[in-house]
């Protein structure tokens, strides 16, 4: 039990190599191996999360080398939420792939890369060391590039290249920030940095903060650094896009929260950053939604909606610099959890529609809902939730984010975002519910109960979260308290 914080990283990385090995030696049991890796990783993550929900956070120091010499892993109740999300994401995506993809798509390295990606993301969540954070972020980037460019199409290699270049900038900025911190404080351990950061001159502190915001802003798709996202998601395909948008993006936002409150002590030392982030968040929401409204391609539309929702979470983060920090962080966490489920449910149910229509252009989806009512019903429930229609969970997360705002303008931006997003989702509804498809659709080849169940369960949980919003909110406030209340790290 005490090794849980390291197991959440070791299990999937070892599993990733194991999957590659099985693929070479015994391809017939590959699916079983992938499922076993995902389930064991899910178990470890959930156990670690539940262990962390009790008060003293789990600390793990490999080889008993204490910081500043050794590295440390740390799980508290704030990271517990993200561990649970990763467990849901890993198991959910593997179950969905088992149900939705034919044996041809199981060739290649996708499964191994997915396991490695989840290992790296778990590493980002549990690490208590800045350099380690950098290593895990880079590992995640490499896996992401592999996943984006795995399809043998010309545009996927372009998208992979673009992502690689832009992620390199992001990585360089992160490294730059870590180096500046190290040269100013002499340590890369988050807790020690937090103690010494007030000695750093304000200008240098500002540069570090700016570099980190841009670095992670690129990763989660903050406008104007979001340009890679529609292209990459489109090239990666819906299954991988669901993983990247639903779960990968959330971990980068986690890192931003962790760094701002932990080592950088931004609410205390540099509260001026929060109004800037608020403006960025509002721009992100509006640009993301407007570009999604103009988009003709379903995957790109969902990707741009994902950009906008990064903005909502950032808006919650920005409000947390003001008063009532815990409530605002809790609102952002609620939206993180809700969006993870909504967006993966949307993308994965879109997978069925796209494979039926053989195209991801919206105009080609005429009459799709009549062919697969259950999947499209899940899509619509998730779309209503993501647009923020009461009484779904998506509504309450937006409502809490809006309540945390100190002024009226962000509230109106949130409101306008709902109208625009309802516009593009409703446009898709009327297309898929149209009467006669203009040409016969392809017979559905491999749509099993398993993959349908995943999207239905995700959409159902988000819809039902609205009913249970009271207890959920108090849970999120507890989690937020472990980020802000203790001033970050002990």
């Amino acid at each position: 039990m005490s090794h849980l914080p390291v197991l959440v990283v070791v299990v999937p990385i070892a599993g990733g190599f194991l999957i590659s090995l099985v693929d070479l030696i015994l391809p017939s049991v590959k699916k079983a191996a992938v499922l076993a890796v995902a389930l064991s990783h899910g178990c470890v993550l959930v156990l670690a999360a539940f262990a962390a929900l009790s008060y003293p956070p789990l600390m793990y120091v490999p080889g008993s080398w204490l910081p500043p010499v050794g590295i440390a892993l740390r799980v508290d109740s704030f990271s517990a939420l993200f561990l649970i999300l990763l467990a849901v994401g890993h198991c959910g995506s593997v179950l969905f792939r088992l149900g939705s993809e034919g044996s041809r798509q199981w060739e290649g390295k996708t499964a191994a890369l997915t396991a490695l990606l989840f290992g790296a993301l778990a590493g980002v969540v549990v690490t208590a060391d800045l350099f380690n954070l950098f290593v895990f972020v880079e590992l995640a980037t490499v896996c992401t590039v592999g996943l984006i460019s795995r399809k043998q199409r010309p545009d996927s290699s372009v998208a992979g290249f673009v992502y690689l270049m832009i992620a390199a900038v992001s990585g360089a900025l992160l490294l730059f920030a870590v180096l500046l911190i190290y040269s100013a404080t002499g340590t890369v351990s988050m807790s020690l940095v937090a103690e010494r950061i007030h000695e750093v001159p304000a200008a240098l502190h500002g540069v570090i903060l700016g570099a980190l915001v841009v670095s992670f802003g690129i990763k989660f798709g903050m406008v104007p650094f979001h340009v890679w996202q529609p292209r990459a998601y489109h090239a990666a395909g819906t299954t991988t896009a669901g993983v990247l948008s639903g779960f990968g993006m959330k971990v980068y936002l986690y890192a931003l929260f962790r760094l701002l409150w932990g080592p950088l002590q931004a609410p205390l030392l540099l509260p001026e950053i929060f109004p800037v982030l608020q403006v960025l968040a509002m721009v992100t929401i509006l640009v993301g939604h407007l570009m999604a409204l103009l988009e003709n391609n379903l995957i790109r539309m969902l990707a741009l909606s994902s950009v906008a929702h990064g903005g909502y979470i950032l808006l919650g983060l920005a409000a947390a610099g003001d008063v009532g920090a815990d409530a605002a962080v809790a609102a952002a966490l609620f939206h993180i959890a809700a969006h993870a489920l909504m967006k993966s449910s949307l993308l994965w149910s879109a997978h069925h529609a796209i494979s039926l229509a053989r195209s991801s252009r919206i105009v080609d989806h005429h009459g799709v809902a009549r062919e697969m009512p259950v999947v499209m019903a899940a899509f619509m429930v998730a779309a209503l939730a993501i647009a923020g229609i009461p009484p779904t969970g998506g509504f309450f997360s937006k409502w809490l984010v809006a309540l945390a705002q100190g002024s009226l303008l962000p509230v109106l931006v949130i409101a306008l975002g709902t109208v625009i997003s309802m516009g593009y989702y409703a446009r898709y509804f009327v297309v898929v519910m149209a009467k006669r498809p203009p040409e016969p659709l392809r017979q559905v080849r491999s749509r099993s109960i398993l993959s349908t169940a995943v999207v239905v369960v995700f959409a159902g949980v988000v819809a039902a979260a609205g009913v249970a919003q009271g207890p959920l909110q108090s849970l999120f406030v507890v989690m937020a308290g472990s980020l802000t209340g203790s001033g970050g790290l002990p």
Binding site: F161, V207, V214, L290, L384, A387, A402, V411, K435
Partner: protein, 487 residues
Amino acid sequence: MIPGGIEAGVFLVFAGLGTSLVVLLVAAGARGPAAAGAVHVAGGILAILAQDLMTLLIGWEVLTFSAFILIRDDGGRRHRGVALRYLITHVGAAVLYFAAMVVQVNETGSLAVQVLVPAAQPLMVLAVLIKTATIPLHTWLVRSYPSTDTLVTPLLSVFTTKVGVVTAARLLRFAPGGYPILALLGGVTAVVAVVYALQQHNARRLLAYHIVSQVGYMIAGIGLAAVETTPDAAAVTAGLFHLVTHTLYKALLLLVAAEAVRHAGHEDLTGMPGLRFRRPALLLCALVGALAISGAPFTSGHASKYLLKGVSQGSPVVNGLLTAASVGTGLSFIKFIYLIFFNRVDAAVGAAVTTGTTPAGGPPSIRDRAVILSILGTAAVTLFIGFFPGSVPGVPAGGYHALDASLGALAPLGVSAILWLLLRRRLTRQHHRPRRPRSTPMISVLTRLGRRMRVPARSLQELGPQIQIFMILAGFSALVLLILQVS
């Protein structure tokens, strides 16, 4: 929990009329619309029973989405466009409500249904103006209601705007500087919508403009509640009582129009063959509805307009606007009855206009019987309320049938009759080409803008990696400069 006072009357109308119209849809064999209609009724009932702002908002949204499905029908491109516009308009109203709710909760910490804090009022006023189709925000209503099935329109007319009125009655007291803006907007809407209605030839479009106009009366009544000289409860009661009476007689008139459309096979009033006395019961019921909406004495419309007149004594402008609207309404419904029942249509033109389904012959089907039954039922309730207005919960008794009240109501109708004699030719002139509805200026500007924006948006996404990376670096430097400036 059933609300008390006049809201109990609203609840009874919502539940009773809504249920019977859904039953009518079931009897007519329209299974799909009946299911969506049942959800629609449930949304309206949820809104009237709501004890907190959140439930009320959920009621709004349930109404919006079920109406979207009802309007979308199964139809073609035009239905889809109309339904999409309806949905976006009402989600727009709901998010204004949302913003007002955020302000309210941040200031008071409570979600209870009560008069909102002043900071939240303007947002909620805007939301209610959209919801109640106040001019110039009325286009969603006159586009969507006439485009559905003829039996769906009565159901739609019962809820959306009326829930907006109920919301206004509960949450709004908007009179900045003691000036009853809301009441004036309502009064202006009542008049302008009647002017529009007089120009209509399509039966249901005409009635849709009258919905806009009559809801203007209700908004005028509720807006007057904010003025200090008017007793708050009396104004709200007058507004909501007009809601009750109007909902009933408007459903009646829409059902009469559905019957007329079935006979004629099309919706052009000027091309309808006059039914004359072939359907005496239908003629009587149509007269009940027309007299009620015109406010003739001893009808339900007279009773509610009498109350409205009482509360608008303190504000001569609103009073004058409402009286002018009464004149126009009377004129419009003389035209309505005349064209449906007594028109002599030019045979050649009549045949040319008749393009729809052929009129039903033979014995009446279940659908026809159900429609007749609903018409008779609503007419009976309208008559009953007309003779005994005090029987509606929360409505003060007495005074409605006094001589001066009746004469006061007859005066505008007399003016209508004179105008009818003067303008009859112009109002009933046949027109040969049905005009295509044009796009409103705002929508066309937005679409044009959207088309223009598509190109830069696309090119921004198709940029090469070098330029994208350059943009990122530029953004980073700008952010750092900004932070340095700030700190």
